[in-house]
């Protein structure tokens, strides 16, 4: 086991204790309690129902689609699904909270305890406990910088369903926190319960951090609100832990409070202390009945789950014989992973071989050639100019000897530009490998005639000259000769 992550202080090393509350926007056609649309980026206040605007006499009606998404997420995390749960009102005043309360699940969440296996970039594996997942409404958005004298409110997000996924305080390093969020993101994207888009705010985290000396009980924690990228989460953890260590080492104590991370300054600052904390006056939401789930509903949710990233990764290693590294890379993101699945299936079909026999070449090509090209072009897998079928055709052309490795690279570059099929490109541009023995034998005869002295030297024992002859024949063929065939014919001709 690797050494635990510590931050060295004046008085020695400090351990970090980290827990995360991830707010994930649920993918659904309409909001948690109203029929309004949930699409990101609509004109301000264009996706607001009477319920979302909290008009007098309006009542919430629970959207079953959102419940199914939370249950599916819970099942994907191996969590306990609570057959009985309840919504509560969390009361506070703010301009972008029209009802004056948020409908949330306080005491009885829909999903209970689960666990998530994570692996850091350094390859360290650990398990992070899931405390609970509950459903709640998002608030609207206050806009303070449009006018010097007033604030504007956009209620498009008001009432959109969020899943709050609460971890146990099981993480001990920024790397683990990052790996946890990445793994969680991979899962919700794989099952389609959240798009995981942190830039648009559809996934964001409240980060709880405390520090302690090795073996000591948990210290007092601070909560850093609303951090919206994995990099910022990691930076915020280090900044906050460093701040706490400095206070403790000067003999001070940590005040439990809510803080904000300022990525520009790389520091956290106080938002409100525990004493100033809101009294949310939680009580059961009287406009809604308790949420009772049938076994059939839960089973239907389970049946709707696709293969999860961890299972797919294990399958790639065990059944396809891929290295842990390749299996990990190919299952980290659902879009890439599904692209690979398509590439693999088509490759096996075109080459008429079992998937495991074409998997490694396909995996290497995708993670090497394709990812390299997409990276260079700044494109996501979904924007790839080359389709899985075209990739499979390219791999098949290499496998059957039509294209050599170098030729395949040339063809791939053309595919990226023109989006044409590789076979058509090779045909039209004469890039096919020459394996025709007659043509190659003629070239060999010419090369030997032109280099009679070297033929004599070779035959006299200078074996190293073989490579020279191969090069000459390849050059004479314009790079299109099949190197294996050339080798074989040359050996025969040179005796």
């Amino acid at each position: 086991m690797a050494d635990p992550y510590v931050i060295e202080g004046r008085t020695g090393p400090w351990e970090l204790v980290i827990g995360l509350e991830v707010h994930a926007q649920v993918i659904s056609q309409s909001k948690l309690f109203s029929g309004a649309a949930t699409v990101f980026g609509g004109e301000p206040n264009s996706q607001v129902s009477l319920v979302d605007a909290a008009m007098p006499g309006m009542l919430p009606v629970l959207n079953g689609e959102c419940v199914a998404q939370a249950v599916r997420t819970g099942l994907a995390l191996g969590a306990k699904i609570n057959r009985w749960s309840r919504f509560d009102r969390k009361n506070y005043f703010y301009a972008d909270l029209p009802q004056g309360y948020q409908i949330s699940q306080y005491q009885h969440p829909v999903v209970g305890e689960g666990a998530l296996e994570i692996e850091t970039e350094e390859g360290a594996r650990t398990t992070v406990g899931i405390e609970r997942i509950h459903l709640e409404q998002d608030a609207g958005k206050s806009i303070h910088d449009l006018s010097p004298t007033s604030s504007y409110v956009d209620l498009n997000r008001s009432g959109v369903a969020l899943m709050e996924i609460v971890s146990k305080p099981d993480m001990r390093s920024p790397a683990e926190a990052g790996a946890y969020v990445a793994a969680l993101r991979a899962i919700v994207r794989a099952i389609g319960s959240c798009d995981g888009n942190m830039q648009e705010g559809s996934m964001r985290a409240d980060v709880n951090v405390s520090v302690r000396k090795a073996g000591a009980p948990f210290g007092t924690r601070c909560e850093i609100k609303n951090v919206n990228s994995i990099r910022f989460i990691q930076q915020a953890i280090v900044a906050e832990a460093t701040r706490q260590i400095a206070i403790l080492e000067e003999g001070g104590s940590i005040a439990q409070e809510t803080r904000l991370f300022d990525p520009d300054r790389g520091e956290t600052r106080s938002l409100r202390s525990k004493e100033d904390a809101h009294d949310y006056r939680y009580f059961p939401e009287p406009d809604l009945l308790p949420l009772e789930l049938s076994e059939d509903f839960i089973e239907a949710c389970r049946a709707s789950l696709p293969e999860l990233p961890a299972a797919r990764r294990a399958r790639y290693e065990a059944e396809l014989g891929l290295s842990p590294y390749l299996a990990g890379v190919l299952t980290a993101d659902v879009d890439q992973s599904n692209w690979f699945e398509a590439l693999l299936a088509d490759s096996a079909k075109r080459q008429d071989k079992p998937a495991k026999d074409v998997a490694e070449k396909a995996a290497n090509w995708m993670t090497g050639e394709l990812f390299g090209a997409l990276n260079r072009l700044g494109l996501e897998i979904g924007e790839s100019p080359v389709s899985p079928a075209q990739g499979a055709e390219l791999l098949a052309l290499v496998a059957d000897g039509t294209l050599s490795g170098p030729l395949a690279k040339q063809v791939f570059e053309i595919m990226l530009e023109t989006r044409e099929d590789p076979g058509a490109i090779a045909e039209a541009r004469g890039l096919k490998q020459v394996s025709d023995t007659g043509a190659l034998e003629a070239a060999i005869v010419e090369v030997m005639a032109a280099n009679a002295d070297k033929v004599a030297d070779y035959r006299g024992g200078k074996d190293k000259l073989f490579g020279f002859f191969v090069g000459q024949v390849m050059k004479a063929s314009g790079g299109k000769a099949n190197p294996a065939v050339v080798n074989e014919l040359l050996k025969k001709a040179l005796g």
Binding site: M55, P98, P286, L288
Partner: protein
């Protein structure tokens, strides 16, 4: 067409069907009555155009033989129901000028049945009150006067505009809402009938919320049959209200038999409170006799947690109200008071200070207090537990009987201002009505007699969940035996 306003709703339907008069004539007579009765302050908004348009539509439908259940029937609508295009304020300053873009489910159903809305009826602010004196738009004056007195009396509350308007023959019936007695007590005070159905029987969608787990729409009308007709039109499942009940609505008026043969009527002993007016006690006994005469077996039952009902109610209802009324913040609609250079908090404080009246503020503060961390368990949670015990009391009682018979209110109507200085005395008005509300049960008040001052007193019938039919039928049996025919003498 004098005399049209004296007809019962059922008689109006018969007259319309027999073409004795047109819906336009009927509605016009009521529009005139409403205008003439402005001293009662029962209506906040008069909508004669709406009423006359509905009357004309009803005349067409009647001529074609396609008339709905309430075709051409002039109704008053409590101003807690949102009505599309018609100002709706819940009698609060904070909603002054608020015109909904939507129609409550209940009013939409009534209009679909052909009803003609005469206007929006005054009420206690956000339905918080028992005398209609907390309205920001002034109290409603009861059409009744004590013998030999010209003192102004309260019409009960919170549906005080509804009770006054029906009693004064301004409309055939009126919608009400009942959270702790707000239909039954004003009905009793004004000598009319009023039913609060089972919680969930009528949709709350579009009804301005006071206490969500208690609020229930119902009807006030001249007699039991009229209540049955209107309730049938307004009740029913609504997918927009998650607490509404998905069960069929019976044809109530058709089910009235007037016989209580085979029925057991329970008399809860805990309702015999100390110091009860002997006249009321006597009336209750008369009710028992009428029930027996109609064929019922009388049984004494016990509801042991009765005395806990009022304190429980005054924790639960304000708690929910404190949250339900948070939306009136000056941001999106209604009153906004924004002090110059003030913050968002300043705007909230100024808006709510100016927009809410004293009783509403009192309940918001009580509700906020009982939900606060540290007090929640002692108040709200405990109240919920007691509420469950109260419901259990009723369930046990209904093992021994089919219906309960009690007085509706401890006294008859009192004078304006008599109890405004003492909130506890005001709350005590609800002592007999609150338990059924906490248990979500259907309950009805019918006029049964007059007190020593010649003012009406009511008897209450409480039934099992969803047994509005049983409640109405028992009320019908008692009504025919009570022979209550008193009406206010017009002074306005």
């Amino acid at each position: 067409m004098a005399g049209l306003t004296d007809l019962s709703l059922a008689a109006m339907r018969a007259g319309l069907k027999a073409k004795q008069f047109s819906a336009r004539e009927l509605v016009t007579a009521h529009v005139e009555a409403v205008e003439a009765a402005r001293p009662l302050n029962a209506f906040l908004v008069e909508t004669p155009d709406h009423a006359l348009a509905a009357a004309d539509a009803a005349d067409g439908a009647l001529a074609r033989g396609e008339a709905g259940l309430l075709a051409g029937i002039p109704l008053g609508i409590k101003d807690l129901f949102c009505t599309k295009g018609v100002e709706t304020t819940a009698s609060s300053r904070i909603l002054m000028g608020f015109v909904p873009t939507y129609e409550s489910t209940v009013t939409a159903k009534l209009f679909a049945a052909g009803a003609a809305m005469l206007g929006k009826l005054n009420l206690d602010e956000f339905a918080m009150g028992s005398s209609n004196e907390t309205s920001a738009y002034g109290p409603v004056i009861s059409p009744w006067r004590a013998q030999g007195s010209t003192a102004k009396l309260v019409p009960g509350g919170s549906s005080g505009g509804s009770s006054a308007a029906v009693a004064a023959r301004l409309c055939a019936a009126a919608t009400g809402t009942d959270t702790g007695g707000s239909i039954r007590q004003p009905a009793a005070f004004t000598g009319i009938a009023g039913i609060k159905p089972t919680y969930g029987r009528c949709s709350r969608w579009g009804v301005i919320a006071f206490a969500s787990s208690l609020d229930q729409a119902g009807v006030l009308a001249r007699d039991v049959t009229d209540c049955a007709l209107v309730l049938e039109a307004m009740a029913g499942y609504d997918p927009k209200d998650s607490t509404s009940l998905d069960v069929p609505v019976p044809h109530y008026a058709g089910g009235l038999t007037g016989s209580l043969k085979g029925k057991r009527i329970g008399i809860p002993k805990e309702y015999r409170v100390d110091g009860m007016d002997p006249v009321l006690e006597d009336l209750w006994q008369k009710g028992i006799d009428w029930a027996r005469d109609a064929g019922a077996e009388i049984v004494e039952v016990s509801l042991p947690h009765t005395k806990e009902a009022l304190p429980t109610y005054y924790v639960v209802a304000p708690a929910e109200a404190s949250s339900n009324l948070a939306r009136y913040d000056g941001v999106r609609y209604g009153l906004r008071v924004a002090p110059d250079g003030g913050s968002l908090s300043d705007m909230y404080a100024a808006t709510r200070a100016a927009g809410f009246g004293a009783e509403v503020k009192r309940r918001i503060m009580i509700g906020t207090y009982v939900l606060s961390a540290g007090y929640y368990d002692a108040y709200y949670l405990k109240a919920q537990k007691v509420r469950a015990l109260i419901a259990q009391d009723f369930a046990r009682a209904f093992e021994a009987c089919d219906l309960l018979l009690t007085p509706t209110a401890p006294t008859g109507a009192f004078e304006l201002g008599a109890k405004t200085a003492d909130p506890i005395a005001m709350f005590l008005n609800d002592v007999f009505t609150v338990p059924a509300s906490l248990a979500g049960l259907p309950a009805m008040s019918i006029p049964a007699g007059l007190d020593g001052q010649g003012l009406p007193l009511g008897l209450q019938l409480i039934g099992r969940p969803l047994d509005e039919m049983g409640v109405l039928d028992a009320a019908f049996a008692l009504e025919s035996r009570a022979g209550f025919s008193a009406a206010p003498v017009r002074w306005w």
